[in-house]
């Protein structure tokens, strides 16, 4: 059963000492809303969502998001990427496919979701053989440096092969036991919370906080939602909103589709583009190429020059929507001057913003 941490006082129990505050009540500006949506849903808000949420407190968006299928789909995608279960290794089994719905309705906990992922045939195919399988379980689920505990690895390999052994302090005799034992190890919730906190807030948790959250998650396997809520309303998340880092390719693709085409890419489109962009250490040139192809394809709903009565307002609106901020005076002047030239198309203006490094951060 969930902790039911819905009130501010309940939330405070999960917040770091000294970092506690009332749930974020400051009205969301376009930039914060864009970042929050990218974090929660792996995409920027659609136009209708911007209209609803700009000016509302962060807590309202967070509370609305945490029960949705889309949020947990995004969460699951992040976990699958963490295990590098992508492309041909993406699990297609019903057990894994059902996870977002079960997580959204609160009938399954985050650790149990990882458990199911690691028992999937895709995980087995991705990590073939006892050495690879046991090593990955120890590293990815528990955060262990296997080279320092090779004896445990050897026992795990024996268990994987069907032999009886005491792996991580518990008896087992099968490949599935290797996963069960790891999931039930106290280091599993701790490692999950540590990496997740860092993903959401871009900072490492303190030992004290990590211990407190781990205890909560051990006591209540369904507490991840409440813990996430607390993180998203914390000062640490405020601080995260003040930072910008380069977007991973998978996020860039989804943002580009929403911003240009007004839809999220389907799974095939997203995987193909991500796989291509991930194939380059510097994906900048290919990102630009994809953006240009889309802009020039005729599929992007761009206004004609003649249907833009107020170029200044149109350009300022693009900055706000695509970058989450108003243009600076010099930028607005330069863009307006350029757009006054007949050689500059509306697509050129869009391309200037989208191909700029700032657009590719969040």
């Amino acid at each position: 059963m969930e902790l039911g941490l819905e009130s501010p006082s309940d939330v405070r129990r999960l917040l770091p000492p000294g970092g506690a505050q009332e749930p974020a009540r400051a009205p969301l500006d376009p930039g914060s809303l864009r970042c929050l949506f990218l974090d929660l849903f792996g995409r920027p808000p659609f136009e209708a969502e911007r209209a609803i949420w700009i000016g509302k407190p962060r807590s309202e968006v967070v509370d609305s998001a945490l029960g949705t299928l889309e949020f947990w789909r995004t969460w699951l995608d992040e976990q699958l990427f963490y295990f590098l279960l992508i492309d041909n290794f993406r699990p297609a089994t019903e057990g894994v496919q059902a996870l977002p719905a079960q997580l959204a309705e609160g009938s399954i906990g985050a650790l149990e979701a990882l458990h199911r992922i690691c028992l999937s045939s895709s995980f087995d195919r991705r990590n073939p053989g006892p050495d690879t399988f046991v090593t990955v379980v120890m590293e990815q689920l528990l955060g262990l440096e296997v080279q320092r505990i090779t004896r445990e690895l050897e026992i795990g390999k024996k268990v994987y092969d069907g032999g009886r052994g005491t792996f991580l302090g518990r008896s087992g005799s099968s490949q599935a036991d290797v996963v069960h034992i790891a999931i039930e190890d106290r280091r599993a919730p701790r490692h999950l919370l540590s990496r997740e906190y860092e993903r959401w807030t871009r900072q490492a948790p303190s030992e004290q906080d990590l211990s407190a959250w781990s205890t909560v998650l051990e006591r209540d396997p369904l507490a991840m939602r409440s813990i996430l809520r607390a993180w998203l309303l914390s000062r640490a998340y405020d601080a995260r909103l003040g930072t910008r880092v380069p977007q991973p390719n998978r996020l860039f693709i989804r943002a580009l589709y929403v911003d240009l085409l007004g839809r999220v890419p389907d799974e095939g489109e997203a995987e193909r583009l991500r796989s291509a962009l991930d194939g380059l250490a510097n994906s900048g040139p290919l990102r630009s190429l994809v953006a240009r192809l889309m802009l020039d394809s005729g599929k992007v709903p761009l206004p004609g020059r003649s249907s833009i009565p107020d170029a200044t307002a149109w350009i300022a609106g693009l900055f706000e929507r695509l970058l989450g901020r108003s243009p600076r005076a010099a930028e607005l002047a330069a863009f307006c001057e350029a757009f006054a030239d007949p050689a500059c198309r509306p697509a050129t203006v869009m391309y200037a913003i989208i191909s700029h490094p700032e657009y590719q951060t969040w």
Binding site: G129, L293, A352
Partner: protein
């Protein structure tokens, strides 16, 4: 100062510093040599010597290439997972990394040493891989003195050059050509936003060349390479085309398909044979170009081997601690190397980094390997 002048200068500097006791002897470049370009092939899916030099029929091209150079049949490797062990080749440090780690290392790579010390542009240092998202991390480290600004261009042929991706791009058609006026306006708008990535005009030009290469490569049909071992085959084919277009000073190929050995020994052997064909194609392309033939060296090695015995699926894992796993064969061929030699002395896979740096005139400041013995003619 031209690149060559700078290189001479750096080599002289390294020699002077060493004589004066300011730099370790290992940091010295080899004496002046003809090697101007280097290709490092990491057969990074785990390959035993038994299926290569132990079964010459599997690798006729490797055999003919090796006869022209030096073979080290006892190159000590560490089973650090494919990613960690591959990274070790390029950093010269045994990297204990998680098998599914998807992050850059902290130790500078060979590419960073070479680019920084020789002042090479990004377009002169390339990595062609088949390993997907993880392998892009080998291109540069997070080391504060090195990092992205000295990284290699990395290109995963299988991710980029596949029919589905091409089809996806085709659905959007071709981008409209920008005339000079529009391009100038675009640059003006972008300039008003500041170049937050610190990119220069030279970087922009290099990016445009890469963009053109990608489009051309999609037209050349690399995506039509299919079947078992196609990802590796694309890595080799892309590498060959990179040589022709960019004529890079440093080119690495990371081939990962051999790891299918876990599930099938037969597939593993078929992949080795296909890789051998592609290697032959690459080497013949080098040899048929007089400039490249006279100036290009090749170092080829697996990151580690595989188990001595088949597993229950009639495949080969990697984790038994046997000599089959821990020792691999390293092949070095180039205009300055001895020919037809086999050096029985034990060396390490991490020695590739120090040797490559010495050949190119760079200093691997943090690497812990050594220069390969009995290599130079």
């Amino acid at each position: 100062m031209t690149i060559l002048d700078r290189r001479r200068f750096l080599q002289a500097g390294a020699w002077s510093a060493s004589v004066l006791g300011l730099a370790p002897l290992g940091a010295q470049a080899f004496p002046r040599n003809r090697t101007q370009r280097l290709i490092v092939v990491a057969m990074a899916g785990g390959v035993r010597t038994r299926e290569t030099f132990g079964t010459p029929d599997n690798v006729p091209n490797l055999m003919r290439i090796a006869q022209q150079g030096v073979v080290y049949p006892r190159a000590r490797a560490s089973n650090l997972g494919h990613f960690g062990a591959t990274l070790s080749i390029f950093t010269g440090i045994s990297e204990a990394r998680g098998i599914r780690d998807n992050a850059r290392g902290t130790d500078p790579t060979l590419f960073e040493y070479v680019r920084k010390d020789l002042g090479l542009a990004a377009s002169e240092v390339w990595v062609s891989t088949s390993g997907g998202v993880q392998e892009a991390n080998v291109s540069y480290s997070l080391h504060p003195d090195y990092g992205a600004r000295y990284g290699a261009n990395t290109l995963d042929g299988d991710g980029l050059f596949n029919a589905e991706f091409k089809h996806l791009l085709d659905t959007y058609g071709r981008p409209a050509e920008m005339d000079a006026d529009e391009l100038a306006l675009l640059q003006k708008m972008r300039a008003s936003m500041g170049s937050q990535d610190g990119s220069s005009h030279e970087d922009a030009d290099a990016a445009a060349r890469v963009e053109r290469f990608l489009m051309d490569e999609l037209r050349r049909g690399t995506q039509d390479l299919k079947g078992l071992g196609a990802a590796d085959a694309k890595a080799f084919r892309v590498a060959r085309n990179l040589l022709a277009v960019f004529r890079p000073r440093f080119l690495a190929i990371v081939a990962r398909d051999a790891d299918q050995a876990h599930g099938s020994f037969n597939n593993y052997v078929q992949i080795l044979r296909r890789n051998d064909e592609m290697l032959g194609e690459l080497w013949d392309a080098v040899q048929s170009d007089r400039e490249l033939a006279d100036s290009t060296a090749l170092l080829l090695l697996p990151e580690f081997g595989r188990d001595a015995d088949l597993n229950s699926r009639r495949g080969l894992d990697h984790g038994d601690g046997s000599d089959d796993l821990n020792y691999v064969s390293l092949v070095c061929v180039g205009p300055d190397f001895l020919r037809g030699e086999s050096v029985q002395e034990e060396v390490r896979t991490i020695d590739v980094c120090n040797t490559a740096c010495a050949l190119m005139g760079a200093e691997p400041r943090y690497a812990r390997g050594k220069r390969l013995p009995r290599l130079m003619a």
